[in-house]
């Protein structure tokens, strides 16, 4: 015979298992947009009321101004939806709005510098999402997907920053170090696929740092012989085991950097030597 608390659980289970009539699912996003429109309208009416009371100067609106206002209000609707979605996490309904807002930011990033900066901002957002998901004990597959998104966003930053201005490379290095640090603090709280994904991401960070720091040290300046030497394989040139390249016209080019002084040995191989320093000319000018 069950006691009352066991019976309460029994009732709860019975009622939960009763077959329910299927109901059409509600359109969560369109309902939210309706709420947003109302909040915006309320704000506009509040401004109008203050104007009527003489608290805000009245303007005589021409057609162009009304048109501009309509665009501002429409952008405000998007912005408001975007703002409301800022704190959302993967799996939340408004998360798709958040990602759509980021895509708009990416589209408007025209030059390489802004692409890297926007990429870093988005990667930091992905990182914060991973941290929140782990701390909130979300499902491991959701966390693993968030980590995959983080890796993908970071790779894009690294590809954009590699070989570019040193300041952007530094920013990318800082991002990768930040990711390593945060992922290291959360990996013990994660489980299953999530933990594996985080550990892989930490390992990838080390490789990313190598790539960035390698690109920084051997930064190729476009239009120089160093670049051309490095790009030799992309021309019709062939590379011989001795390090010399031979282009289609049979001209032998060396892969050695132009500032090195070389002489060719008996086998025709480049042979670096210490340069001879000539004395100052004795004849005055």
């Amino acid at each position: 015979m069950m006691d009352n608390s066991e019976f309460e659980k029994f009732i709860a289970e019975r009622l939960a298992k009763l077959p329910r009539k299927s109901i059409p699912s509600g359109d969560k996003v369109s309902v939210w947009l309706k709420i947003q429109a109302n909040l915006r309208q309320t704000r506009l009416e509040a401004v109008r009321t203050r104007r009527i009371l003489g608290l805000v100067p009245a303007f005589h609106f021409g057609r162009l101004v009304i048109g501009a206002l309509a665009i501002v209000i429409a952008l405000g609707a998007v912005g408001a939806a975007g703002k409301a979605s800022e704190g959302s996490l993967p799996g939340d309904t408004l998360y798709s709005v958040k990602r759509a807002t980021e895509q708009v930011e990416t589209i408007f990033a025209i030059n390489p510098e802004s692409k890297v900066k926007i990429g870093i901002k988005h990667a930091q957002t992905r990182l914060a999402e991973v941290q929140s998901l782990v701390e909130q004990n979300k499902q491991p597959d959701v966390v693993a997907q968030a980590v995959a998104d983080l890796k993908s966003t970071t790779e894009q930053v690294i590809n954009a920053a590699s070989g570019s201005q040193p300041e952007l490379v530094d920013n990318a290095v800082q991002l990768v170090n930040q990711e390593k640090q945060v992922l290291a603090t959360v990996q013990d709280k994660a489980a299953g696929d999530a933990k594996t994904a985080i550990q892989d991401a930490i390992a990838s960070s080390a490789q990313s740092l190598d790539k960035l720091q390698g690109s920084d040290q051997g930064a190729v300046v476009k239009g120089t012989a160093t670049e051309q030497a490095g790009n030799a394989s992309s021309t019709n040139a062939t590379i011989s085991p001795s390090g010399k390249t031979t282009d289609k016209d049979g001209v032998i080019q060396s892969n050695m950097q132009i500032q090195d002084v070389t002489k060719v040995d008996q086998n025709g191989n480049p042979h670096p030597e210490n340069p001879t320093i000539l004395s100052e000319p004795s004849v005055g000018f």
Binding site: A16, V31, K34, K83, A84, D92
Partner: protein, 187 residues
């Protein structure tokens, strides 16, 4: 349990921010509450668009009256009370003769929830026993276990104290147990 308690604290913190005018927090509250509130309203109006309109109006009223909500703890109860009042207004607008008692019964909705076409013998027996409870007891059991509301929310909806709801629930469970045992013995 610790996880549930952490989640509850997170929700309370979000609610507090929303009550202070944080639109981003309000959006997250909407995300958390939408499904359960939509089901609560739909079971009472049985119409998708009407339910969506009533849910949006519920959140609009929550936002506009947020200064009157005394703290995050009262928030849940406030949500369901606003929704229930809007459902009553919905029916008022559609009826020429208003029977307040009939309208109050919008909280009764069982026919809209349970699909009675393919119940097995045990399920039929269980529902038959439930139907024999007093109306207050039935309502509390259904709100608690079908709508999954907390005692605080049920108390606000029925305009009773939480203590009164616990007593009703306790008596309903005891009565239901007796009815089911008698049915079992009678077989």
């Amino acid at each position: 349990m610790a996880r549930d308690s952490d989640n509850q604290q997170n929700v309370q913190a979000l609610v507090q921010k929303a009550l202070q005018g944080d639109e981003s927090a309000f959006g997250q509250i909407y995300d958390l509450y939408f499904e359960k509130l939509y089901r609560f309203v739909f079971y009472r109006v049985n119409h998708k668009e009407a339910a969506e309109d009533l849910v949006s109006e519920t959140f609009i009223r929550i936002w506009s009256s947020r200064s009157q909500i005394k703290g995050a703890g009262a928030f849940n109860a406030w949500v369901y009370q606003i929704a229930r009042n809007l459902v009553i207004d919905y029916y008022r607008a559609r009826k020429t003769i208003v029977d307040l008692q009939e309208l109050e019964n919008v909280l009764e909705y069982e026919d809209n929830v349970v699909d009675r076409t393919n119940l097995d013998f045990e399920q039929k027996t269980f529902l038959a026993a439930l139907d024999k409870l007093g109306s207050d007891q039935q309502l509390v059991i259904k709100l608690k276990f079908l709508d999954e509301l907390e005692n605080e929310e049920i108390a606000k909806l029925l305009d009773k104290t939480e203590g009164a709801i616990r007593v009703i629930q306790h008596r309903a469970i005891a009565e239901l147990k007796k009815l089911l045992e008698n049915t079992h013995d009678g077989q």
